[in-house]
Point group: D2
C-alpha cells in the first residue's frame, strides 16, 4: 500500500506511521517530494492488510492510504498459466469450450422435469438445471420441493444422460446436494453468505457462483476466493444481472462486467440472460451477445409450459424457442471459433 502524507505532515507523524508499519512487520520505502511524503509499504499478512490500511488512515498527518494489490490470489490470472477449464459431469467450460445449461426455474413435479429434460437434450443443451430449494421474496410463495426435487432431477438425468446442476441456499443442504448433483449453484442472494461459501468450498463438486445483484466485480472475485481458499478451485462464475435504476428489464445484464472479470481471473464465466432480463423476448439476443462478448457458456431457463410455471414463467423459453436459439448459438460458435459441447 502507499501511505500519502498530508502536505506539511510533521516528522513525528511520519515516524509514528513507520513505527506502526514496523509493529506489523511491514517493510517500507520513503519518498520525500516538495509538497508531500509518500510511504510505500509491503507486508506479509494477507488477512490484515485492509484493517491496517483503515487504521493508518485515521492517524494524524495521513491524507490517504492507497491499496496496490488486488485482494484475491487463488482466482487471479497470476495464479494460473492459462484459463481454467471446469467440468460439470464431464461437460467442459472455459478455454474456448462453451456449453448451454437449460431447464426450468423450479422442479415442480416428475412429469414437468422429465419433459423439460427431454426438450433440453433435443435442443442441444449439455447440462440440466432445476431448483429444488427456491429463494422466494414472499414467504407465502412456492418454496420448492426440497429432497423430492433432487430425486426428480436425478431421474431426469437417468432418462437423458445429461448431468445436472442445482442451487443450495443453506449449509444444511450441502451434503444432500453434493451426494447427488453434478454441480452446485450458489445463487445471487447468497454470494456473500460466507459460511455457505466455505461449505461448498469443502465439497467435491464444481460450484457455479452467481454474481450478487449488488456485488461489484471485485466482490464477486473475492467470493470466489472464499470457495477456492476452502479447497475447491472448480468454480464457474455466472453473470446474471445487477440492480440499477432501469426497470424496463428485471436486472441490468452486465456483460462488460463479465469481460472485465475475465481480465482478472482464470476461472470460466458463463452468463444467464434469463434472470438478467426477466423477459423471454430478450433472452435470445442477450444469449448471443454474451457469447460474442466472451462468455464461456450460457444458462437459459426453459419450461415446457411457461404459462403454467410456478415461478419465472415470463423469462422462460418454450422448448420450441430454445430450439430456435440453439440454431443461432451453433451458427455463432462456428463464426467465433468456439467449441460447443453437445449432449451425448
Amino acid at each position: 500500500m502507499i501511505i500519502v502524507m498530508a502536505p506539511g505532515a510533521k516528522q513525528e507523524e511520519i515516524d509514528y506511521v513507520l513505527s506502526r508499519l514496523g509493529e506489523r512487520g511491514y517493510q517500507h520505502h520513503i519518498s520525500r517530494g516538495v509538497e508531500r511524503t509518500l510511504i510505500g509499504a509491503i507486508g506479509a499478512h494477507e488477512g490484515e492488510k485492509e484493517a491496517l490500511a483503515e487504521q493508518l488512515m485515521l492517524l494524524p498527518g495521513v491524507d490517504r492510504v492507497v491499496p496496490i494489490l488486488r485482494p484475491y490470489k487463488l482466482v487471479s490470472q497470476e495464479h494460473a498459466v492459462e484459463p481454467s477449464v471446469v467440468r460439470i459431469g464431464g461437460v467442459p467450460f472455459g478455454r474456448k469450450h462453451v456449453a448451454v445449461i437449460s431447464g426450468p426455474c423450479a422442479v415442480e413435479n416428475e412429469k414437468q422435469m422429465l419433459e423439460a429434460a427431454v426438450a433440453a437434450k433435443r435442443a442441444g443443451a449439455a447440462v440440466l438445471r432445476g431448483g429444488a430449494y427456491k429463494p422466494r421474496t414472499s414467504p407465502y410463495a412456492f418454496q420448492g420441493l426440497g429432497e423430492a426435487g433432487l430425486e426428480m432431477l436425478a431421474a431426469a438425468r437417468e432418462a437423458t444422460g445429461l448431468p445436472f446442476l442445482t442451487e443450495i441456499m443453506d449449509v444444511r443442504q450441502v451434503e444432500a446436494v453434493e451426494a447427488v448433483a453434478d454441480g452446485i449453484q450458489v445463487g445471487a442472494r447468497n454470494m456473500q453468505n460466507y459460511d455457505l461459501l466455505r461449505e461448498v468450498g469443502a465439497a467435491k463438486k464444481p460450484v457455479v457462483l452467481k454474481r450478487g445483484f449488488a456485488a461489484t466485480v471485485q466482490e464477486w472475485l473475492r467470493a470466489a476466493e472464499y470457495v477456492a481458499a476452502a479447497g475447491n478451485l472448480d468454480v464457474i462464475l455466472c453473470e446474471r444481472g445487477i440492480r440499477t435504476f432501469e426497470t424496463e428489464t428485471r436486472f441490468t445484464f452486465d456483460l462488460a462486467g463479465m469481460a472485465a472479470a475475465k481480465l482478472e481471473t482464470h476461472l470460466p464465466i458463463i452468463a444467464d440472460p434469463s434472470h438478467a432480463t426477466g423477459n423471454h423476448k430478450l433472452v435470445p439476443p442477450m444469449a448471443l451477445a454474451a457469447l460474442a462478448g466472451g462468455a464461456d457458456g450460457l444458462m437459459v431457463e426453459m419450461h415446457p409450459h411457461p404459462d403454467r410455471a410456478l415461478s419465472d414463467g415470463p423469462q422462460s423459453l418454450t422448448p420450441k424457442r430454445l430450439l430456435g436459439l440453439m440454431d443461432q448459438v451453433r451458427n455463432l460458435c462456428l463464426a467465433l471459433g468456439l467449441e460447443l459441447a453437445v449432449p451425448e
Copy 2:
C-alpha cells in the same frame, strides 16, 4: 389484480383468461371500455398470486397484469391499530420511544469489549452491540471470535447492566446466540437468506433486521414478513444505506426509504449512520438527521481505539465523540418530543 387486455383482444382470449381465473378459484368482474377490456380478479391464496400474475401475463390477448395488494400482511399497518413497541432486554423502541445502540463492530478481546461497554454506558447508550461472527468480503480477514465473543459480550453486560445485540450469519449459530443475547441481528448480506429468516422467526428473542444494501423497501418488508410468518413479531427494521453510484460515502443513507417504510409498517425502524456513511465525521449529522426524520433509534459504532480496530475503524466514533453526539441527541429528542431510553 387487474388484467388489462390488449386493444382488440378477442372474446375467446378473454374467456380463456376467465377460465384460468376460475381454475384457481378467483372471482372476477369485467369492464368493457371502447378500446380495452379490464378484468378485476380477487382470490384467496396469498402464496400463488405472483405466479398466477406471471402466468396470465403470457396469455394471448393480455397486455399486462397490474397487482393491487401489497405482498405482505403481518407487518403492514393494517395489521396493527398503532405502531408497535419492541423491546431489547427491556429497552423500548417505537411509538416515540427511542434508544441508542452502541459498541464496536467486532468483539476483539475481553478488555476492548469491556472498555467499549463502559464508555457506551457513560455516554448514555442503552443497548450494547458487538460482532462475534463477522461477514467479511475477504476470506483472509479477521472472521470474529465466535462463541468466545459471545461470552465477552455477556461479561460486558454483567459489568454494565446493558443488554446486548449481536449478529448471526448461519442457521447453526441461532441456538447459541438465542441462548445468551438479548437481541439477534440479521445483517444486510443475509436479508434474503430465507432459511435464516425462518430460523430467527422461530427464536424467542427480538430480531433487528438490517436492510439489504440492494433491497427495495418492498423487499425489506417482505423479509420482515418471513420472520413474522414464522412466529416472531418482535422485529425492528434497521436502515443502513443502499448501494448506489455515489462513492463519496460507503453506501447511500436512505432516510426517505426509512420514512416511506414507516408509512407501510407498524414495526419500529432504527438507523445505522456508521455503516451507511463509513466515515466517523458524517456519523453525528446523519444520526441527528435520522432522528429528525422519524427513526425509532440509532445504531452507532464506537471503539475505544478506532486506529487499532480490527474492522470498521474509519466509521467508529471514539468514546469522546460518542459523548458529544449523545449530548446533541438528548437535546434533539427534547425538541422532537421523543423519549430517550437511558441506561439503568
Copy 3:
C-alpha cells in the same frame, strides 16, 4: 388510464372522480367488484394525461392511478410498418444495415484528425466522428477547438470521402454544425436538454441521440419523441452505458436496455462500447456483443496515438487495434446476416 378506488370508497368519491374526468372530456367505464371499483378512462389530450393522473391520485377515495399507454407516439413501433433506416451522408443504419463510426474523442489539430480519418477508412469504418465542442467535467480541461474543429472535420471528409458526425452542446451551435456536418450528435449529458432537442428537431440533418447515463429506456424514447415531434424523424439512438454502482468499468453497458428499446421503437439503435467501458481492452468484446445483441451499428473511439490524446485516451483503440476489430466485425456480420457498410 385506470383509476383504482380504495376498498370502501364512497359513491360521492367515485362521482367526484367521474366529474373530474368529465371536465377534461374523458370517456369512462366503471367496473364494480366485491372489494373495489375500477374506472377505465380514455381521453384525447396527450399532453395533459400525466398531470391529470397526478391530480386524480390526490383525490379522496383513490388508491392509485395506473397509466396504460406508453408516453410516446412518433417513435413507437405502432407508428411504422417496419424498422426505419436512417442515413448519415448516405451510409444506412437499421433494418439489417450496420456501419461503424470511428474517430477520436476530440479534434485536436489538423494532422491528428487527418491521420485518424485515413486510419478509420483503411480499417473499414464508414463514418467519421470527432468532437469540436467538448463537454468536460472540469472547467480547466481542454474544451475543444469549436468552429476550427468543424473545418478540420470537413477537411478530413474531403480527403477520405467519409461523412462525419459531431456533437453539439448548445443551441447556439446548431446552425454552424448543421451547415457542415453530415450528422448531429446530442451527447448523454444533454439528452434531457429539451431546448436543444427542439432545435435539432428543426434541423435538416440526422441526429444521433445518446442515452443519458441516468436515463431509463422510457425517458430515452421520450427524448427521441421531442426531436421527432419537432419535425425530424431521422433519429438514431445510441446506447453508451448507464451509471451504476459498478466501478470496474466507467459505465455499465446496457445491451439488454438497447434490446428492450428495440421492442418499442422503429428507430435504429447503435452502441458505443468506448464510452460505456472506458477501457480499450473491453471495446472489442463489447463491440461484438452489441452486434450479436441486435445493434444497428457501432461508434468506436480511435486515436492515432492514444497516449498523447487530449481526452479519453484509455478507451481509444489504436489504428492497428481498430483493424483487428474490423476483421472480427466483418466475420460476425457475415454469420449474423448483417450488411456492413463499407467506405466508398
Copy 4:
C-alpha cells in the same frame, strides 16, 4: 499524482515516464521499493492533469496513476477561511443562517402564483420559487409560460415583498431571468450543461445549482467550479435526490452526500425534499432531517390546490401543510441553534 510502476518495470520504462513528465514541466520524486517504484509528480497546469494522467496510464511498465488533488479549487474549503454566506434578495444562506424557499413547481397563472406567494409568506417562507420555463420529460406536456411567467413572479414579489428564484434551461433565457429574478436556478438535468454554467457564471445574480440526479458529489462540486471559474462565487448548492434502484420514492434523498459535500466546500448547501421524495407525506420528515443533518436551507414545493396542479401535484404541500411544517422548522432551528430568516 503518483505513478505506480508495475513490478519488474524496466529502467527505460521509468525513464520514459520521467521524460513525459519533464515535457509537461512536472517535477518528480522517485521511490524505489523492493517490488515497485513509485513516482510522485507535481505540475502547474490544472487543466491538463487529467489528460496527462490518462496518457501515462497507457505507457508500458505503468501499473496505475493515482490522483492526489481534488479537481476543484475556488469552491473548496481551502479557498475560504470560513463557510460562505450567499444571499438571495437579502435573505442569507450559510454559516448557521437558514431560510425556506417555497412556491409552486410551475407558474400557471397570475391568481395561482399570487395565492401561493401570500400563503408562503404567511407560513414563514423567506423566498419564493416558481418555474416559468419547465423541463418536461414529454414534449406534449405543459412547458411553462416563459416570459409571462416571469412577470407573474415579479408581481407576486411586488405583492408580498418576498424575493424570488426561478429556473433557466437555455442560454438564451439568461438575460431575461437575470434582469428580473433575485436568484437563478440551474436544474438537475442541466447540471452538466457546461455552456449554461458559464453563462450563469457571468451573471450578476446568485445561482442555486441543483445536483444532477446521476452526479457524484465530486461532479457536483466541479459543476460549481465552472460557475465560480466564470466569475460568480455566489453559488448555493441544492441536494434534490439521486437516481437509484429504489422506486418507493421518486429519487433517493442523499443527505449523507450533502454532509460529505460540506466537508469539501465553503459554499452553502440547501435541500429539496419535494423533488427528492415525490410524495408530500415524506416532505415534512425529510425537511426536518435535512436541517438536522446540516442543510443551510430548504426548498419546498407548495401549491394552493395540489389536485389542480399542472405539474408535481403529488409532492406539493397545501398551504395548511406548509404552515404545520414551518412550526416544526422553527422549533427545530431553535434546538439546533440555527437562525431562520423570516419574511419582512
